[in-house]
Symmetry: C3
């Protein structure tokens, strides 16, 4: 069995999918939302390889694969050296491909790990989160949720608030918002939102209160305390300036919605008033998460 | 997505099910014992969330769910903080509900954990054991096994022998025996069977030999050494007074049966003669365990 | 439920299967390779009980079971005491049998563990590797790969090179090669290939270069560093004498093939030239692994 020219599509980050393909994926998600699909991954073996703990993403991918009728194996290594006994990861994935595994869904604490796997795997790799780098299916479901709310994102403004620096979700989402021509404003202290993030279509602001009156979507982020040593500013200062609460919700335009990739920390980036806010779309994001993941898997495996 | 009035049934303890419903569940278990059911949980997503190790209960629930055709995801957190990254369990279960998860089967070392989850979950929670509190599906399969032996438990006497205090199985079983009007006698030293357990229909005895000649069922319990610091009496004294052995089996009426929720410890609460005893019903309990769990899941999800 | 005379077949080592049965298993594997079988294990419950980490064998058995339509439960104990709370393993497997589990696939670090389980389990046990003792399904897929290459192994010579002493694969493979009347030569330093391995049909050699010109198959082995305290010779010496490389490949007859049970360690027992060698059959072994395991399961459960 020789190495083959890789013609199989992977989704490591938003760069791997063109704009018209994005809309194709979203159209399938809508179809899957409306009715259970026939078993479009019947006989297709998927391995979920999660090197980091996960409840929501793990469960969401499992349900997506089950509902598409895939052959499903979960590998959840107890430690990072677990899987290979001195073998390179390249050789491990060649082995999985030989077994007939077509899809690898990978979560890993190292940035770039899924990309390096995809370079050697004769199949489809879906990045389910790599370190602080990217989490494209979360970004897709966030974009999809916004598009269900507003038909287009052109002319709309999305504020991403909080620990952008350590958030793989934010990194993928910013790329997606640029692709869909939304205006983006990143809001947080310099330690979480470095000035260098400002670019074509992307502004940086330190002042949440000033930003809120002109945004259509607020995406709140969790502070990723497991990814840095010391909190770069006092918790009270962070909360005072950036927590979304009833007063700040009142600053939003009437059609605005609030989203969060989860898990959210009550009392830190949001308070209870957000959970009762009519525009809170967290549960809707989770609902769409399964159908968007189904659509991604179907798109990668079965094509257009 | 607003919070909804909870109309979905859970099974946290025996209190959650009325007497006529008990018999309905048992009737379904009998039907499932006789022939494989159609896939009555087809398209129903079940998550098994086991925070404590388990072989028999975990496998039994898995087989029950598979045989009913459910969509099945196993989450077995490596530690108790694993699943939430600062998120409350309430928010975690809201997330699972949004994904379309309808059934949560939960084992947890803390008493009351499944009940607090059920208060927030828009779906069905089945308690698969919480600390020393309750283990209702084990109690149901024990009751079912007794009812297959004796048509009714009215007028029958059941002895529960050993570490009642730390046994969630015993706590649920006592409630079930009261519901079915059986006489119950709890047998063991004061450290394992406090006097306060005596109540309507429930006696306490320190003397196994005196009890055995008038019982129909003996339920043996394992000493739950992982749930207390020091053994409250010498092992030899416990064994001398409470181990079931050939001499004590000879004291039983001829129709009496012996049961154990498992796992059993040979040489402690029983010796080998029990395993060869014609009335030993352990394997039968395990057989019925799968069909009783199928019946519980079907009853909760599909109703009467 | 009494203990029954065990009439169910297990596969603990190559001794458990007669020569004509080997060929029957191989014929089924070929059929399964050609087309997806009907669900021949529909309604058959299989438990995979892996006490050691495993990627390839675990995934291969999972896919084999899924493709045969089995009811599948994975138990991967976090530690060796995990499953039983003082219960004997004999009692645990009696419990699994009572639940209707028909097949146990077991990997365990102790030699003899699967055999002792099979003595008590009223079902089929498949050894997926026990310590340094045996790994029969790997040996079967190795033999099958050889037979797909050469119609018969009679008159053929197979060299097994490296850490034979600690390799359960090698131990099972040697038995299989004897069964199929192949000539076998074990090549390595005395610490890895003790003189006592020489027996009917099995030679021992210290000189890989002298052996290569007259062999049909080379099976390379990984040094099982996790199974001994100190490397018995310098790494450089091992590599100098036993690593397969381009010069040594050139010594092979033109039809010869090279195999490895995996995982392989680049730079130790082989270098990159082996991975590009036309006769390198590693991926083919993995491909056949799934169909051979399907054939074994089908043969044990459904018979001839």
């Amino acid at each position: 069995m020789k190495s083959v020219l890789r013609t199989r599509r992977s989704l490591i980050d938003l760069d791997d999918i063109a704009e018209d393909e994005l809309h194709e994926v979203f159209a399938r998600a809508t179809a899957f939302d409306r009715s259970r699909p026939e078993k479009r991954l019947s006989g297709v073996a998927c391995v979920n390889l999660f090197f980091e703990p996960s409840t929501r993403t793990f469960t969401s991918f499992n349900l997506a694969e089950i509902r598409l009728g895939a052959e499903l194996v979960n590998l959840t290594p107890k430690d990072l050296s677990y899987i290979n006994k001195g073998e390179t990861i390249e050789d491990t994935v060649v082995t999985l491909a030989a077994m007939g595994v077509s899809v690898l869904v990978i979560r890993h604490p190292e940035e770039g790990f899924p990309r390096s796997v995809a370079a050697h795997f004769d199949g489809h790799v879906v990045n389910a989160g790599d370190g602080t780098n990217a989490h494209p299916t979360q970004a897709l479901l966030d974009l999809y949720t916004m598009l269900r709310e507003f038909e287009t994102l052109q002319g709309r403004t999305v504020a991403i608030v909080g620990d952008v620096l350590h958030s793989r979700v934010a990194h993928s989402l910013i790329a997606g918002l640029q692709r869909l021509s939304a205006g983006t404003v990143l809001v947080g202290p310099p330690a979480f939102v470095p000035e260098e993030y400002a670019t074509e279509g992307v502004r940086v602001s330190r002042d949440l209160d000033a930003v809120l009156p002109s945004v259509d979507v607020v995406v709140l982020l969790r502070i990723q305390r497991e990814r840095f040593a010391a909190m770069p500013l006092a918790d009270e200062e962070y909360v005072a300036r950036y927590r979304l609460n009833a007063e700040r919700l009142a600053l939003l335009p009437s059609q605005a919605v609030v989203m969060h990739p989860g898990p959210y920390n009550r009392g830190v980036e949001l308070d209870e008033s957000v959970l009762r806010f009519a525009g809170w779309r967290y549960a809707q994001q989770v609902v769409y998460g399964v159908s968007v993941r189904m659509a991604v898997l179907d798109f990668l495996v079965n094509g257009t």
